[in-house]
Subunit: 278 residues, 2 copies
Amino acid sequence: MNKPTVAVVGLGLIGGSLARALTRAGYGVIGVDRDSVRRRAVRAGAVAGTTGTVEAAAGVDVLVLAAPPEANLRLLRRLARVARPGLVITDVGSVKRPIVQEAARLGLRGFVGGHPMAGTEGAGFLASSPDLFLGRPWVVTPAGDPAAVRRVRGLVRAVGARPVELEAAVHDRAVAFLSHLPQVVAWALAAAARGDAEAGRWRSLAGPGFHDMTRLARSPRRLWREILAQNDAAVSRALGAFIRELRRAPPGPGSRMTNEQGRRRAKPHSLRREVMTR
Amino acid sequence: MNKPTVAVVGLGLIGGSLARALTRAGYGVIGVDRDSVRRRAVRAGAVAGTTGTVEAAAGVDVLVLAAPPEANLRLLRRLARVARPGLVITDVGSVKRPIVQEAARLGLRGFVGGHPMAGTEGAGFLASSPDLFLGRPWVVTPAGDPAAVRRVRGLVRAVGARPVELEAAVHDRAVAFLSHLPQVVAWALAAAARGDAEAGRWRSLAGPGFHDMTRLARSPRRLWREILAQNDAAVSRALGAFIRELRRAPPGPGSRMTNEQGRRRAKPHSLRREVMTR
């Protein structure tokens, strides 16, 4: 079977990395983005060619929507007007329910939701890398057309990732805890430290733990606001569960920790026992 | 000036690393811990000798308390009964107010609070490394005896760290945000994900962001419960500030994010403008 031709719409961190990885794997890749990014992608050898609109790119075998989530929904509606039967469309967005539902509403049986579980806090084509997906899971949602799913799974494997088939709602609930909540937490942790007079002033004392836990706070906010808005209900539930766990953790009257400490105090600490009683 | 002799009481991650680093720097180091750890430290060449009690080690020039925080307080009270004038005592605990206050109550003018801002999620002598402190800040609190502070600063520099003089209360407030809150957050994030049926089941989807943010959840719980209990008030305030920031971050009616989204929606997204209107 010949390799399908692929259009990648949006050559940012994910789309740029996908274009680079597919080109390296021998696929003919068309890039769609604004002029300056298209020129950069051509110079980098990430794409075989470019075009300016999603309609002009719809002649390929597989079209990948890699713009921000709200833009992907609008691009999908435009595609529905020009897509020939058999066009496979997939996306790389972090929330699957809204776009899967929109594709169903538009009757796009060749739409397969996708989400590579890979990324960095970087953004844009300059942050892209053909190695981004190596060994990573890549969620693929079921579609009306099983052949479309097979095509997308093939692309996923071609860039070194591991396809994981998952219903959109299950994906959205799991990533609310595993990806979206951590993003919100990183922002809040950085903001809380910045907002305290002494912690802000002595920020240089922070160790690798703090840096690891606030690294995501540098992720692009506008993109993340769209992601969080699209997964609002699941993120709110995850946030609620997280705050319940938080309130359990620190010491305080009646907290789980205080009770455990009470139990622990009955037993001497091992070092204390060895060093102190002689 | 001859190098002072040093006793390190508690040869865990921090004490073990300190013993190794001081020995490498040419100091004569006596280790105090339970038998099995002392044997291990001797075999590793981390110490010149060992002894079983803090009283037997009190003949050195500088004694470093590197046991868990509650044990350090009890060791300090025992030391107060045997310490000769001129004995410099310091500690490496994560909370400074309780031990600084206890030293003042005991009239130990040679006590200098210390806190190396270094660590890993590991624990115990086997996790120790002589390089742990290289380039890291090491908080030193003021003491009754300025010569004691100079001695401790000298040791700090000898292991490659950078002394930062800070009042105990300021230290405790800053680390509540920069170290203790992140610890509590890591536990809660890991527990929330584990507690959700789908997130728990699909945990393998988690990327490096989630792993970085829950790495600290592997830190020793018993030790951390003592640290959090000793800094209860400051950690509770930091937690409160953090939860206020959290509630601001996600989308929801009246939230800051929703308002910013509203404003943003008035302007077309740049990619959308370029790709979609042609």
